[in-house]
């Protein structure tokens, strides 16, 4: 495995472990990527703030729209700021992220579901007070 790796990597095959090389052309690209991220995130934030106070759309749809916009913005941050990509170096990071998202969803959905059920099944507060008397 490592032999064939060395044969096909002529550039840094003799580099010591820990040696880190950065391509000369990288920074311009990287600044561009951060700029795109900043632009998209700003746009999504502005839309979020605008939509929260507007009466142009049907009221009950606003929270849904806000959540969708937030998820989109988190995606923009992940891709353009944290540089989570589909590249081969990122497989482990993406797997960890997927697991994290699973836990977060379980925690949020589970808590809300259980507490909603509890609230639903609980006696109204004034009746409890009367029983305690």
């Amino acid at each position: 495995m490592s032999d064939s790796g060395q044969q096909r990597e002529p550039y840094y095959a003799d580099a010591p472990p820990g040696y880190e090389h950065f391509d000369e052309h990288e920074p311009a690209e990287a600044v561009g990527s951060y700029l795109v991220g900043l632009g998209l995130a700003t746009l999504l934030s502005i839309v979020s703030f605008f939509i929260s106070g507007t009466t142009l759309v049907w009221g009950p749809s606003i929270p849904v729209a806000l959540i969708v916009l937030a998820i989109a913005q988190i995606g923009v941050h992940l891709v353009f700021f944290l540089n989570i990509t589909t590249g081969p170096d990122n497989v482990n990071n993406v797997m960890a992220l997927a697991f994290g998202v699973l836990i977060v969803l379980l925690l949020l959905a589970g808590s809300l579901w259980i507490m909603e059920n509890l609230n639903h099944n609980m006696m109204p507060m004034d009746q409890i007070m009367r029983m305690q008397r």
């Binding site: 495995m1 064939s4 790796g5 060395q6 990597e9 550039y11 840094y12 095959a13 580099a15 010591p16 472990p17 820990g18 040696y19 880190e20 090389h21 950065f22 391509d23 990288e26 920074p27 990287a30 600044v31 951060y34 700029l35 991220g37 900043l38 995130a41 700003t42 934030s45 979020s48 703030f49 929260s52 929270p63 806000l66 959540i67 916009l69 937030a70 913005q73 988190i74 941050h77 992940l78 700021f81 944290l82 590249g87 081969p88 170096d89 990122n90 497989v91 482990n92 990071n93 797997m95 960890a96 992220l97 994290g100 836990i103 977060v104 925690l107 949020l108 589970g110 808590s111 809300l112």
Partner: protein, 215 residues
């Protein structure tokens, strides 16, 4: 095929120089990638902790005990300024990490200083907001809703404070020790931390402030 093999194996099929740049001799993952991965796992655990606070807040948001609700308390203009501060600081933090990788002092220190100023501005607005709420009798002891609010938003504020201390430490270390490989890995971790704080802020301003003020 394991994820590790997938990461190492596919790489050899790509002749692109950019991919080989992240590797050391023998096809091993470079220390930079391993450190980033480890720190990413820590950040995900931090996000899981925040999601518990978010769940608490969502459960308690209507438990105002006759006290003020979010609609009466939140000032969206302040929140918009805070959002702009954190978003811009995330951008300058990205510029600083590029400057560090390119060993450009003016770029790195300038962008880090800008990040620091924006972070301090964010904290200042947040502390002023908290102080104003406590002064009008809407402190964390007023209702379950306010307890959850101060826990969630205050925890994020504490993270930003810790991030600012770390930021200044990194500036001092780069200044004193130069662009050594281990220092650069710490700068990388700091960048990941700072960007993650911005991600959590996106969730906070949406769930707490925008949905709270509009309900």
């Amino acid at each position: 095929m394991s994820a590790f093999e997938a990461a190492v194996g596919h790489e050899r099929d790509l002749p692109d120089r950019r991919y080989t740049a992240e590797r050391t001799a023998g096809g091993l993952l470079s220390k930079r990638i391993i450190v980033g991965y480890g720190f990413w796992i820590f950040l995900l655990s931090d996000i899981v902790m925040f999601s518990a606070f978010f769940a608490t807040y969502a459960v308690l948001v209507d438990a105002t005990a006759g006290g003020p609700s979010g609609r009466e308390l939140f000032n969206l203009r302040n929140v918009a300024i805070e959002t702009a501060c954190l978003l811009l600081s995330s951008f300058t933090c990205g510029l600083a990490s590029i400057g560090a990788r390119k060993h450009r002092g003016s770029w790195f220190f300038g962008a880090m200083a800008a990040t620091c100023i924006l972070g301090v501005a964010f904290l200042f607005i947040e502390v002023r907001e908290f102080a104003g709420m406590v002064a009008q009798g809407a402190g964390p002891t007023r209702s379950a809703f306010l307890s959850a609010f101060f826990t969630l938003v205050g925890c994020h504020g504490l993270h930003v404070t810790a991030g600012l201390l770390w930021l200044m430490t990194m500036m001092a270390q780069v200044f004193a020790k130069g662009y050594r490989a281990d220092i650069l890995r710490r700068v990388l971790c700091f960048g990941l931390f700072w960007h993650t704080l911005d991600i959590i802020w996106v969730a906070i301003f949406t769930v707490v402030y925008l949905m709270g003020a509009g309900q």
